[in-house]
Structures are given as structure tokens and as C-alpha cells.
């Protein structure tokens, strides 16, 4: 594979893949944050 093809592929797939992966992770973590919200501590009677 020539260097130009290699470089452009790495830029598109590598950077694109990184952004996509982190975006998916952020969505999943946002979802989990809503699914398991922090509950205030119960006061002892």
C-alpha cells in the first residue's frame, strides 16, 4: 500500500473511529447516568 493511501486511510478511519467510539461511549455513559441517578442518602430516623 502506498504512503498516501495509508496516511489518508489512517486519518479517516483512525480519527473517525476514535471520535465515533468516544461518542458512543459518551451516549452510553449518559444513558447509564440517567438509569442509575445518584440518590440522596436516607436520613436515619
Amino acid at each position: 500500500m502506498d504512503n498516501v493511501t495509508f496516511g489518508i486511510t489512517m486519518l479517516i478511519c483512525g480519527m473517525g473511529g476514535t471520535i465515533l467510539t468516544l461518542w458512543i461511549m459518551s451516549l452510553v455513559m449518559r444513558f447509564l447516568g440517567r438509569l442509575f441517578p445518584e440518590k440522596p442518602e436516607k436520613k436515619e430516623a
Partner: protein, 382 residues
């Protein structure tokens, strides 16, 4: 008998003769002293620069056998660098030390962590343009991850002959983040942008979310980029131990004893790869320059992404935070806080910047993992 004595004495001066014969060893001895000076006197990443500097001195004393077939550093090198074990052990410690709470409180800051990795891929292109081999360019680009263990992991796998230069560049520039970043941040932002005050992060994160985070990231990251799972898995293992709170002995061992011993061995081995004949070359200088460019590009792209977020949030986002999307944790976040408060005393950006910085920590590992999987997908690596 006189001849035997003379021959015996000549064995004591041959080291000096060899040093005079190969000037590159002498230069590397000076480099070793400079690294020690930076570590000891200037407090620049001393935990690494001190063993690296000393390893550099050891290996450049002529006729020493420390990196020979049975040399003691070669034994350590074969056990921990050639097997890629040391960076992974360090990652367990990093995971055990890092609080990902700020990024979980604001998951959108994951994207700032992504923007901070642009430098990796742009530098890879530059390295290719300068004539480096493809896998060498990958190893040079990874300096832009601003993450020493990741750089060592990738370089020891694909371009072990560049390990010394890449590691020294990665760790040196990481320690120079407070000097490199502020001028770029100022250049790319207006005074009005730098003065933006952001609301404090109020959303608390539940214990369940903190516990699920390392598991979800490991599985998700592993499915998308299986080649990089050792990197992601180890950092997440460390974090799971920390957040679970039930294995405090293991957590403490990971962040103290294991990380310390590994750091010592890692530094020594890196220093020992800096032998004069292999290190004193124009190529090394080019790698150091490309490493500098990589970290500048990370900052540029991070701040530019921060500017995009400012527009997207209707001017509520301070673009300086984008500069924290690199992996130098928590140094980059502190730089952002310092720079922000310099322009507006009421501005407190630290928690936001910590989120971006923790995102950068994950981002650099994900970028390396994705890179490895893309390389495997292209058939360049097995």
C-alpha cells in the same frame, strides 16, 4: 611478567580509549546528564527522567554489557518491554489513580478527549511525508497521544528501534505541557472567549454508574477495537478496583508498589535503548520535532473543538477547556484553570477541564486501540 602487567593495565584504560573513538557515546553521556538534571533540578517527570537518564549513561559507557545478551537491563527489557508488559502494568496503576467522575458528570467531554487526539493522525501524515516507514510513522504519531505508556506500547510493538526517541519525546513534552499549551491557547482564542465563566458541574454520579463505567468501556472498546483491548482493559481494571472499594490492598499495590517498580524498570530500559550509535542521528532530531508538533496540533484541535462547542452552546462554553482534551492528566486541566483565572478571576474551569482531561486519558487509549485495529483491518499487522 612486565607484558602481563601492561596488558592487565591496558584493560583498565580501554574504556577511555573507546570513548574517545566513538564521540556519539560521549554525546549520549551528556544527554544522560541533561535528563538527570531536568529530572532532579527542574522536577520534570523525575520518576521517569532519572532512571532514563541513568540507563542512558549506563549503556553509553563503552564495553559495558548491560544490554548484551545476558546483561541485566536486557533481561528486564526482554521481560517487560519486548513482551509489552510494563506499559500495561503502568496502566493498571493509572486506572487505579484516576477519578473519572468529572467526565461521567458531563459525558459530552468525551468528545473533547477525541479532539485532543487529532495530533496523532496529522503527525503520522507528516512522518510519512518525511519518508518514515509506515509503522515507524504510526509510532511517531502516537507521541501525540501525550501518553507515555501508550507510546511505549505501540512503539515497542512496531518500531522498537525508535523506542528511546519516542519515549523521551513523549515524556519530555508531557512535562512541558504548561509551557507549550498557554501560547497556543491565547493565539487561538479571543479575550472575550477566555473570560467566559462556566456554571459548576452540579450533577453527582452514582456509585453504580462509576462501577459500570469500566465494565461498559472495556466491553464496548473491546468490541470496536479488539487489538487495543490490553490498553483499555488494564486501565479499566485499575479503575474498577478503585471504584469497587473492596480490594483496597490491590488498588494501593497497583498505584504504589507495582507502578513504582515498573516505572523504575521501564525508565531504565528506555534509557538503555539510547545507545549513541543508534540515537545520535538526524532521525532522532526529526522525531523530537515531530513529537513537539504533535502536541501543538493536539492543543490546536482541542481548542478549535472548544470553539465549536462554544458556538453550539450559545456562548456558554469556554474554549480554553478544549486544550485539556489531551492525556497529560491532571497537568493539562491545571493549565486550563490557571489560564482561565488569569483572564477572569471569577472563572473556575478546573472541574470542567478535569472532565475533558479524563476524557483525553480515555481518548488517547481509544485512539491507539482504534489505530491498532485499523492497521490489522488493513492487513499491515497480524
Amino acid at each position: 611478567m612486565a607484558e602481563a602487567v601492561i596488558n592487565g593495565l591496558s584493560g583498565l584504560v580501554i574504556g577511555f580509549q573507546m570513548l574517545a573513538m566513538d564521540w556519539r557515546n560521549a554525546i549520549m553521556l551528556i544527554v544522560g546528564f541533561v535528563l538527570l538534571y531536568l529530572g532532579i533540578k527542574k522536577d520534570c517527570e523525575p520518576l521517569l527522567l532519572v532512571p532514563i537518564g541513568f540507563g542512558c549513561i549506563l549503556v553509553n559507557i563503552p564495553l559495558t554489557d548491560v544490554m548484551g545478551e545476558d546483561g541485566f537491563i536486557r533481561v528486564i527489557y526482554n521481560a517487560g518491554i519486548a513482551t509489552e508488559l510494563f506499559p500495561l502494568l503502568i496502566f493498571i496503576g493509572i486506572g487505579a489513580m484516576t477519578d473519572f467522575g468529572p467526565v461521567l458528570a458531563q459525558p459530552s467531554t468525551f468528545l473533547l478527549g477525541a479532539a485532543g487526539q487529532f495530533g496523532i493522525f496529522l503527525t503520522l501524515l507528516l512522518a510519512l511525508a518525511l519518508g518514515f516507514e509506515q509503522l515507524e510513522a504510526v509510532s511517531i504519531g502516537i507521541i501525540g497521544a501525550c501518553d507515555g505508556p501508550t507510546a511505549i506500547y505501540v512503539t515497542s510493538k512496531f518500531a522498537p528501534h525508535l523506542l528511546g526517541a519516542v519515549s523521551v519525546a513523549a515524556y519530555s513534552y508531557m512535562s512541558l505541557v504548561p509551557i507549550i499549551q498557554p501560547p497556543i491557547m491565547r493565539l487561538l482564542t479571543t479575550k472575550k472567549e477566555r473570560e467566559i465563566v462556566m456554571k459548576p458541574v452540579a450533577r453527582p454520579v452514582s456509585k453504580t454508574t462509576k462501577l459500570l463505567f469500566p465494565l461498559v468501556i472495556t466491553i464496548l472498546g473491546g468490541l470496536i477495537a479488539p487489538k487495543g483491548l490490553p490498553l483499555l482493559g488494564t486501565i479499566m481494571l485499575g479503575n474498577l478496583m478503585k471504584e469497587s472499594g473492596v480490594v483496597s490492598r490491590l488498588t494501593k499495590a497497583s498505584e504504589n508498589e507495582i507502578a513504582n517498580v515498573t516505572t523504575l524498570f521501564l525508565g531504565l530500559c528506555i534509557g538503555a535503548t539510547m545507545v549513541g550509535s543508534a540515537f545520535v542521528r538526524a532521525e532522532t532530531l526529526i522525531i523530537l520535532c515531530l513529537g513537539f508538533i504533535a502536541i501543538c496540533l493536539d492543543t490546536v484541535c482541542g481548542v478549535c473543538f472548544g470553539k465549536l462547542m462554544r458556538v453550539a452552546t450559545g456562548g456558554k462554553f469556554n474554549p480554553l477547556i478544549g486544550a485539556a482534551g489531551i492525556s497529560a492528566f491532571p497537568m493539562a486541566a491545571r493549565v486550563v484553570q490557571k489560564e482561565g483565572s488569569k483572564w477572569n478571576k471569577k472563572s473556575y474551569l478546573l472541574m470542567h477541564a478535569m472532565g475533558a482531561n479524563a476524557g483525553g486519558q480515555i481518548g488517547s487509549v481509544v485512539a491507539a486501540a482504534v489505530m491498532l485495529s485499523v492497521l490489522a483491518g488493513m492487513g499491515i499487522i497480524p
